[in-house]
């Protein structure tokens, strides 16, 4: 039953490239609507009847390749299909939408759904590897110099990290004789010496940390997201969906090892560092896409922090933040695509007056920014509120507020585009229409950001079955803090950022290819050393 979700996009992709020689866009859109509908139906089933487990080829559990859909994975699959449908409509009028693009797009969708559903560790390796290749080809779709270079870096760094995963799985298979996540989870306590699990854990976590771009391993991300010639839907997919696969694997794998290895403190620190480094670098960027890329790093750090508190509320808060992050990051990346199209530039300082010339996109950007900063009534506020439930320590609360302050500062920088004197040239103004489909798609996602905030409580219950009571008094207090932080951020922006001396120098710091691999090895060694020291 579940396998149809993986097979249908592949079949349509093959039909599209192999058999149809005219315009196949309608076929692809139709298939996407079908897949989204089917995913909604499956989500309904999971809600009604509980987890769906599909053992391939009728082998017993533990030996078969198993597709496993519980609330968490099904919500993400559903979100994936929804985002892919929306992005496809966005891309519909784009000149890059060829049948080759359609093929890669549908294949990627199928692989990502596979990553969410599969519980077989080797299967996950295959899906990771193939999706890496597809994403790399999508990045260099236009084949210019920068795009090929960025694509190569992304491909090699990711493939090398998947090698770590494969090695880790080998160690696990050697110990347990199973490849299934849940089968290993059941017998993991029977291992004689817990130290023998340190190596596989470190190998697999290095891969995942690279996939989600935790601090020392995050240098590939701005390169992959910021490729100038890649169509705007590609960074939106990467940030909205592809990033989520890594976070999902993080949850699953740390859960698998949870009874033997628990590294919450380690990932708490790494999460905070990632988040802070992410926003500092984001403030330093002048390129819209790069700013959003670094902001993704910062948000991912926050999500990891939420997972590492070990409290239930913050765990589900992070889960909801994953959901919310997919939505508002999609809005922002799509809006940047619209702006680039209309203004012919991506430099943050040469775009002004968006509100007047493109009001629809302007409102989409406002919704997205209010979402990412956690403004009251928007989805970010609910998830950030829940994450802050994880700890009572005043230092941690201070750090969380610091992260939010950073988010506000780069959002201010972003929002400066909305106002001021219009800078769009008359030539471009005549060429493009003010209202087109891509703008409305971005706006629709913006509206979803607002809706998932207003109905946050209801959605949490609906999606994850987790009941969380938001106390009005505390929520008001948080809203008040938000306003204070906003004023502080405005002061910082006026005082330091606009002068762009200090931050723009920091913004250029990055690692070369060899240093990225070295960082990966150092991270791995550090993880192993830390765990031996604990044991």
């Amino acid at each position: 039953m579940l396998y149809w979700l993986i097979i249908i996009p592949i079949i349509i992709a093959v039909i599209n490239i192999g058999f149809i020689h005219r315009d196949s866009r309608n076929l692809i859109v139709g298939s996407q609507i079908g897949v989204t509908g089917y995913a909604s139906y499956l989500f309904y089933l999971v809600r009604q009847e509980g987890t769906i487990i599909d053992n391939m080829a009728g082998y017993p559990r533990g030996f078969a390749i198993t597709l496993y859909a519980d609330r968490i994975s099904m919500v993400l699959v559903w979100l994936t299909t929804l985002l892919f449908l929306g992005l496809l409509l966005y891309a519909y009028t784009g000149d890059y939408f060829s049948s080759q693009f359609g093929f890669l797009y549908l294949t990627l969708q199928s692989l990502i759904i596979g990553l969410f559903l599969s519980t077989d560790l080797f299967n996950i390796y295959v899906l990771l590897e193939v999706s890496t290749v597809v994403v790399a080809i999508l990045i260099m779709l236009m084949k210019d110099k920068q795009a090929v270079y960025d694509g190569m870096i992304f491909l090699f760094v990711s493939v090398i990290s998947s090698g770590f995963w494969l090695f880790g799985v080998g160690f696990l298979y050697r110990t347990f004789g199973y490849l299934d996540l849940h089968a290993i989870e059941e017998i993991i306590t029977e291992v004689e010496d817990p130290r023998s699990l340190i190596l596989p854990f470190a190998f697999m976590m290095t891969t995942i940390s690279l996939k989600i771009a935790l601090f020392p391993l995050s240098s590939w991300l701005p390169k992959a997201y910021g490729t100038p010639s890649a169509p705007p839907v590609i960074p939106a997919i990467l940030s909205g969906v592809y990033e989520t696969t890594g976070l999902y694997l993080f949850v699953r794998v740390s859960f698998m090892f949870a009874q033997v290895i628990e590294l919450n403190a380690f990932f708490l620190v790494i999460g905070f560092v990632t988040s802070i480094v992410g926003f500092v670098l984001a403030v330093g960027q002048n390129d819209l896409r790069l700013l959003l890329a670094y902001s993704t790093i910062s948000q991912v750090g926050l999500i990891i922090v939420g997972f590492s508190f070990g409290s239930e509320a913050s765990y589900w808060g992070s889960m909801y933040h994953m959901f919310a992050h997919s939505l508002f990051k999609t809005v922002l990346f799509l809006s940047v695509g619209v702006l680039t199209h209309h203004y012919g530039t991506r430099n943050i300082h040469s775009i002004r007056g968006v509100m007047k010339t493109l009001p629809v996109t302007g409102f989409a950007i406002i919704f997205g920014l209010l979402g990412i900063t956690g403004a009251p009534l928007f989805n970010g506020s609910i998830s950030k509120y829940m994450i802050s439930y994880g700890s009572d320590s005043p230092y941690i609360q201070l750090l969380l507020n610091l992260i939010n302050l950073g988010t506000l500062v780069y959002s201010m920088k972003f929002a400066a585009m909305l106002f001021g004197r219009n800078t769009m040239t008359d030539e471009l103004k005549e060429k493009n229409t003010v209202h087109d489909l891509p703008q409305w798609i971005a706006f629709a996602f913006g509206a979803l950001t607002l809706a998932s905030g207003i109905f946050g409580n209801f959605l949490l219950e609906f999606l994850y079955g987790y009941d969380f009571a938001i106390l009005p008094g505390e929520y008001l207090e948080k809203s008040f803090i938000y306003l204070l932080l906003m004023l502080a951020a405005f002061a910082i922006y006026r005082g330091w950022v606009r002068g762009r001396d200090l931050f723009s120098k920091i913004g250029y710091i990055e690692l070369s290819f060899n240093s990225m691999i070295t960082a990966q090895v150092i991270f791995f060694m550090g993880l192993v050393g830390y765990m031996y020291w604990l044991a």
Partner: protein, 120 residues
């Protein structure tokens, strides 16, 4: 125990993996990066194939298996898949590299983004 008994497939596999990693950390030529990646992958393949091997066991195909030790077939099956993927990735990497070299004449990783590759 003879000294050579230490040299099992698993140990050699781990060594090859780290030799490959060393190459990736230190070599700035793109071709050498691709070669190091292949070395690293070979290490993993060797490791898998020799997992839980006991001497004297037989392959589990085409013969009577009653009363004999036979090799676990799963790792070999996995590695066939992994080898195929490895070849695919190497081929794509080489294709990208050749395209890049022929069009822009660049063979080395650069230090930062703004330079995008160097020719020395």
């Amino acid at each position: 125990m003879k000294p050579l008994d230490f040299i099992t497939g698993e140990i050699v596999g781990i060594l090859l993996f780290f030799i490959g990693l060393y190459g990736l950390m230190t070599k700035k030529t793109i071709v050498k990066t691709i070669m190091s990646m292949s070395i690293m992958e070979s290490g993993i393949f060797l490791f898998y194939i020799t997992i839980n091997y006991t001497s004297g066991s037989v392959p589990p195909i085409g013969q009577d298996l009653s009363g004999v030790n036979y090799v676990d077939p799963v790792p070999s099956a996995l590695m066939i898949t992994a080898i195929v993927i490895g070849i695919g990735v190497t081929a794509i990497g080489l294709t990208m590299f050749m395209h890049y070299k022929q069009k822009h004449g660049i063979t080395h990783w650069s230090r930062n983004r703004n330079q995008t590759g160097s020719e020395h």
